[in-house]
Structures are given as structure tokens and as C-alpha cells.
Symmetry: C2
Subunit: 464 residues, 2 copies
């Protein structure tokens, strides 16, 4: 080939070299310039196109680095041999749209609600600003995979005072949300375990653990929490429990059951308890129930905590407290994994805790939720003849167990007709127990007192 | 038991009910109040202690909810039976300290450096402030597990323009760092795969994939990148590659090899290519090399990208582009996993891209790195008799291959004596190839031009 006539646009936004490159490349791709063909020399082409030689050189260099042409010393540039795969047309298959249409309900008793009107936006903005105020390059350098030490220290102090958790900052690993923390934990524990879940349980954790390919078993719950006798008969060596406030039944595991559970873990090497302390902050009567971790003397409890529930769902900040017995496994198997939480966010939450904002925020939301809780209990009083209320005094939802002949689905669909969303216990059950009584969860964190009163009035009508 | 004499402190910060609760609880724990013992009635105890009856009731309720005591209707409160595990003393084992002492070098040629002096702190602060300025409760509600749509849209536009990646926002999944993205990807792909890595490779990904329990194989690299002939003989069905800029050799995979690789993936159901496009932004000559994903017509390429390298390491923001063929698996197996990136961070980076700051920042750092690159090349010229330079024109490091008789360890330790840190190729090799020539990596992103000149002068002396 001696000539390449390219219609160059001098006033285009695309540089000349790129126009030459594009022209040659597309002609090679379509086969118009075939394999083996010699390209004009850079001198000849620059003369022909009336551009500088360096422009053509730049175009050829780009074609060279992408492998469209090859250079042979002293002989020039030749089109390289390339398979023809890209001649295939891209399939025009339409993407399936997975977006569920989310119905907006007038009243939504979601058990996962968080009141965001009480979120301290001003404080958050101020802390965020203060932290970014200096041009601290340090803040944008990669951080400690475990989370920043100062932040872990703040968490360890908070946990000791508020939850009776005994740990040093060295045992804490920070991560972006509880799902991620479980993924990381699986790298520490390895996959050679069978994990027991309470039934009913926090399905998100259950699904995640299944998704990580763990074999699982379910253990039923009596009025003291997970049945340890049943756990012993299962082949599980890890028990996932929510002792401070069983999810979703709200059962507080009494000290005796806790000791039985610890005893189970102590009986065999390699057994562990995962204590998910997801919403222990919200208790309206007396002191918080101390964490199981605080009673553990043999390093068998892995404690999970989160700020997503107590500050805001969008704050992707959870953590685990590893027992000393797992620290070595963490360091050999998972400490190379980079942190998932930005240092900026870690510093904001650290300041939030250290300067007392967290405690104030907890007190404020606790008072708020307690009022809503009390309003809900009061509003439900006229329904005491058709259902039993349980799960009170803690968390952000109540349970109503019915004996009025209606099924859960019926209760839910009747509420739906009134534009009210309520949640059935079946959403939380792994196995469906024969003869389980229809049970509805009512979360109240995200509803005003007025809304609670109005909605319950409607429920009381439609559930009769 | 008729009396409990508790030395109550009226002016203590600890509420009276809590003092009563603490006293009884610790006496039950130590066995001084034995199992089965009846506690005084609330009336009797309140009279005895001269406190209100509700104070005692509160203490008893707390003991009840923690399970230390039980109430028998009409008979009163009794100490519950509890195993004695907690009498065991907590082991006083000292925590092993895992903190490595990090030596600070005068000059550190880390290949993972990022210049943070050019980070646009003011812009970042402003964007962050703007986003937090309104009390948007929406911002703190839990977000889309896949990442916010607007942000994914901005990424999809950027990828199309800058990297030739063809995708819709529906195919993008955001996550807090590339390690996490690989964890999530493993939930989509399942563990029934064998993954092939280039050797040498990006060890972090290799370790992570090993940590997730995948079987792996290594495939050697020739001057065109991963050898597809060797890949075909391995039993791998997933190939992890860095075609735009092989890490760490800097090889740009030519179009022919890319086509061979795609052909390999097309030959069998279930084969995939993971394209890690980690630092494609940094290319100093000509246009960026388009991503392999853009050539794929059968949905076999999983594209990985990150902002940690191009903005700042502490920005925990990476993403993957799933081929349409994996979207269903994502939706059934992993879309329930909550996002690991806060909405605030997503919005900041979205604005950063949409308002043109990202492009400006890339241009600025590209120019900066190019200068450092040129200064390093220039400074290395007097060493051309003892080593061969490669990997130029892209990335943020060069490779020096030696034939002066010194081993890699020797080269590294001689540099160490001059307080200079350099990196050996062996850190990136999975298998050590017999007869591989000693190779040193010099990263220049994080060194000033002055430092580069000074350090290379010292290296030229100590390596002779």
C-alpha cells in the first residue's frame, strides 16, 4: 500500500493523529486493509496527508501498542494477524430489568426502620468539615486494614462501658456493614464449619452465610432463646445468636442459658459463638442487658456490632471483636484485606463517640422510640382480646400473636387493603413449624405517634 | 432471706436501683446468695433500705430480665439456678502484638504510591459540604445494594468515553475497594471454579482469591501477556488478567492476544475473563489502550475498576461491570448484600466526575507522573550499561532488569544501606522461574523530581 487517503478534519476536536489512528484501525478491523499489508512509511504518509511526521508517528505508535500493526526493522510497518472475532455483531439482547416496583404504603410498620429526623445533621456536617479542614494528606493515604487504631480504641471503650464487652483495640476489626464483616469472618474461620441459626432469625445473616457456601442448621427457640440441647445434637460447631434481644422474637437470653451456650462452646476445640448485638442500644426499662461476650473466659465468642442501626442505615460501619484465639488466624488469613471504610468516615464516627454526641444521640432516639413504643402499646390495648403482645421493653418492634382464626397472610392482606404494611413472622422463619400461631411484627421506629394511633385504629377494624 | 443490707450511696452517680442490682447480682455470682434462696419482697426491702418501692422493683426487674432471679406467682422472687462457669478467672494471656515496625526510608520507590499533594482537597471539601448542606434524610437512608443509580450512570458514561467499556448502569456494582468486589464476585460465581493468574501478578488479588478458597493455577507471561496456549492446557475456567497494563511487567496485551483470550472464553460455557483495569488512567504516550471488555461480544468479560488508585487510596470505591450473562446470578445470589459504600461518598464522587473535576484531576496527576517518569528515565540513563529499562510509557513504575551479576536480594540490600527502598520482582512472582533475571521495580508516583535524581545517583553508585 502506497497511499492512504484519509479525509482529515483540521478543525475537529479529535486530534489529527487520532483521526489517522481511527481510520487505519477501523480499516484493519473490517478487513479493508488485510493482514500482512505494508503501511506507507511515516514520511510518505505525512507528505501525502500534509501533516507533520510526528503526527503520523504518534498514530503508528498507538496502533503498535494496541497490536494492530507490527514493525519490522528496516522494512517498515505491517498489519498484524488478528482473529476475526470482533466482526461478530454484539448481541442485541435486552437487559432484563430487575427493578421491583416498590409500593409506597401510607403506614409502614417496618421492623428495620430508623428515625432519621432525629439524625444530628448539623453535628455530622461540622465534624465532617473539621476533619477535612486541613489539607491532611495523611487522611487520604491507605489506612490500617483493621481500621484506625484511635477509632478502634473509642469503640473498645464504648463497648466496655455500654455493653460489658471486654476487649482491647487489637481485637476489633472495622468493616463497611455487617454483611461485609461476615464475609471477612469467613476468611478467618475458613469454610470447614457448620453454622447453627436460631429459627426464626435475622434472615440477612442467614442468607449471607448460605451465600458464602457454609452448611447451616436451624435450632429452634424457646422462651429463653436458642435451645442448647438441640444445638448439641446438631453437627454445628458455630452458633449464630442474638442473646441481648433475639431477632425477631425479642427474647432476652437469661444468664442460665447463656452459661449453657458457653459450656457448649467450651466442650470442643473449634467451636465458636457469633453474638450479633444488633440493636442492644434500644432498651426502655432498666439497664442494657450485658453482652454474652463479657462472660466468656475462654475466647469463644465473636462479637458483632454496628453503627448502621444506631446512627443511620447509610453509615456503613460495623465491626467485630475477635477472641484472642482467632487473632492469629486473622493475621495470617485476612489482615491483608484492605479496609472497606474510608478514614474520613472513621474519624467522623470516632469524634462522634469521643465528644459525647453518640451518647446524646442514643439518649435522644431511645426516648423517641420509647414514646412511640408506649403509644403503640397503648393503642393496641383495645386489641388485647384478639392478640397477645410480646417483645416489649426493647428493640424497635413488637409482636402480635393472633388466635382470632385469621392466617398471617390474611392479616397482612387485610392491612394492605387499608394501605398499611405489616410484616409476618414467616419472613423470619427458616423452617415453617407446624401449628405456629400467626404472628405479626409491628416496627415503630419510623412512624410518628400520630401515625401509629391512626394506623392501629384501622388495624383494629380490619382484623376483626 | 429476710434482709439484704446494702450500703447505698445517695450521692453517687450510680442510680440507687443500679446499686441494689449490682449488689445482688455480684452476690449471686459469687455464690453468697445461693440458688433457690428467696429474696425479700420489694415492699420489705424498700422499707429496710429506706428507698421507694419502685426503686427496688426496677432492680428486681433488671435481675429478672437478665435471668439471675425468677418470680413465682404469689410466692415472690427466687435466685435462679446458673452454671458456675463465670467463676473461672479470665486467662491473663498477653495479646501478641502484630504491629510490624515500619521502617521509614529516606527514598521509597513504592510501586503503589499515589501523589497526595495534588489531591484536590478544596474541591472535595466543597462537594462534601454541599452534599451535607440540606438536612436530607434521604441521604442517610439505606441505599441501593448495587450502588446509587445516578452514580452508576456517571461511571458508565465515564467508562464508555475513557475506556471503551460498553455497559449500562444496570451492569455496574459498586463496592468499598477491590478486595470487597472480589468477595462479592465470588458469591455470584460460586466456588466451583479454577482461577488462572498471570505470573508475575498483582499478589493482593491472588491472595484474596486463595483466601476465598478457590483453586488457582498460574500461567506464565510472554511479551504479549498471559500465554493463552498455556491457559488452554490448565484446567482453569476463569482467567484473571491485566491487559491494559500487565502488573507488574507493564506489558500491553496486543489485539491479537486479546482475541485469543476471548476465543478461549467463548469455547466453553462457564468460562470468564476478569479484566482488572487497575491503573489504565496513567499512560503518557498516545491514547489510553481500550479495555478488553469493549471487544467482548458474548458477555464473558467481568471488568474491574477502582477510584482508589486514580483519586486516593483512602477513597474506598471500586466497581465491577458484570456481563449480562451474570446479571441473573447477581440478582439471585448477591443483590441482597447491602452496599458497602455510604451514599455521601457515592454522591461526592458522582459530582466529582460529573462536574469535570475527575478529568481535571486525572490530567493533573498524569502530567505530574509523566514528569517524574521522564526525570527517572533521564536519571537512569548512566545505568544503561548495567540494566535494561522496561515498562515505560504507562503506569507509575519502571522495571530494571540486571545482568551485572548481582542478585535481587543484593540489589535491594545495597539500596537499603543507602536508605532507599526498592522492590524486587520476586514479590510479584507466584512460582519462581529458574534463571529469571534479577529485576527491580521503581515506582515514582510518590517521589519528587529532586528526590528521584538524588536517589538514582546513589543507586548508580551502590549497584556497581
Amino acid at each position: 500500500m502506497n497511499e492512504l487517503t484519509i479525509n482529515l478534519k483540521n478543525h475537529s476536536k479529535i486530534p489529527l493523529y487520532e483521526q489517522i489512528y481511527d481510520y487505519i484501525k477501523s480499516n484493519i478491523q473490517t478487513g479493508r486493509i488485510p493482514y500482512g499489508e505494508k503501511l506507507p512509511s511515516t514520511r510518505a504518509l505525512s507528505k501525502h496527508l500534509e501533516v507533520s511526521r510526528s503526527t503520523v508517528e504518534l498514530a503508528y505508535e498507538q496502533l503498535l501498542s494496541e497490536g494492530y500493526i507490527e514493525s519490522a526493522p528496516y522494512r517498515g510497518f505491517f498489519v498484524a494477524q488478528i482473529d476475526e472475532l470482533y466482526h461478530l455483531e454484539r448481541g442485541q439482547e435486552k437487559l432484563r430489568i430487575y427493578k421491583e416496583e416498590k409500593k409506597k404504603y401510607r403506614y409502614d410498620f417496618t421492623p428495620n426502620g430508623v428515625d432519621l429526623n432525629s439524625f444530628p445533621y448539623n453535628v455530622w456536617r461540622k465534624l465532617s468539615k473539621d476533619i477535612l479542614i486541613d489539607d491532611k494528606t495523611e487522611l487520604f493515604r491507605s489506612g490500617d486494614p483493621q481500621g484506625e487504631y484511635g477509632f478502634r480504641n473509642a469503640i473498645s471503650n464504648y463497648l466496655y462501658q455500654a455493653r460489658g464487652v471486654n476487649c482491647s483495640p487489637e481485637q476489633i476489626v472495622i468493616g463497611a456493614g455487617s454483611d461485609y464483616i461476615l464475609m471477612l469472618l469467613s476468611m478467618i474461620l475458613g469454610l470447614e464449619h457448620r453454622i447453627a441459626f436460631e429459627d426464626p432469625t435475622y434472615k440477612q445473616a442467614y442468607r449471607l452465610v448460605k451465600g458464602l457456601s457454609y452448611p447451616t442448621v436451624t435450632v429452634s427457640v424457646d422462651r429463653f432463646g436458642m435451645k442448647v440441647s438441640e444445638l448439641e445434637e446438631s453437627e454445628a460447631d458455630i452458633a449464630y445468636v442474638t442473646p441481648s434481644h433475639q431477632y425477631p422474637t425479642g427474647i432476652v437470653m437469661p444468664i442460665r442459658r447463656r452459661m449453657e451456650l458457653l459450656k457448649w462452646a467450651y466442650q470442643k476445640e473449634g467451636r465458636y459463638i457469633i453474638e450479633d448485638d444488633y440493636d442492644s442500644e434500644f432498651r426502655y426499662k432498666g439497664k442494657p442487658i450485658p453482652a454474652l461476650q463479657g462472660y466468656d473466659v475462654q475466647g469463644k465468642v465473636i462479637y458483632l456490632g454496628t453503627f448502621s442501626k444506631s446512627i443511620a442505615p447509610a453509615i456503613r460501619l460495623s465491626y467485630m471483636v475477635l477472641p484472642e484465639s482467632l487473632m492469629e488466624a486473622y493475621h495470617t488469613q485476612a489482615s491483608f484485606v484492605n479496609s472497606t471504610v474510608s478514614k474520613v468516615d472513621q474519624q467522623i464516627v470516632q469524634k462522634f463517640i469521643e465528644d459525647g454526641y453518640y451518647e446524646r444521640h442514643l439518649n435522644k432516639t431511645r426516648a423517641l422510640y420509647k414514646n412511640r413504643h408506649d403509644v403503640l402499646i397503648e393503642a393496641l390495648r383495645p386489641m388485647e382480646d384478639i392478640c397477645k403482645i410480646s417483645g416489649e421493653n426493647a428493640g424497635v418492634h413488637l409482636l402480635l400473636t393472633f388466635e382470632n382464626g385469621m392466617t398471617e397472610e390474611e392479616l397482612i392482606s387485610r392491612a394492605y387493603e387499608q394501605d398499611i404494611r405489616v410484616y409476618g413472622m414467616s419472613d423470619y422463619c427458616i423452617k415453617e413449624e407446624q401449628g405456629r400461631k400467626p404472628t405479626i411484627l409491628l416496627g415503630y421506629a419510623n412512624l410518628s405517634e400520630q401515625d401509629i394511633r391512626e394506623a392501629v385504629k384501622l388495624l383494629n377494624q380490619c382484623w376483626r
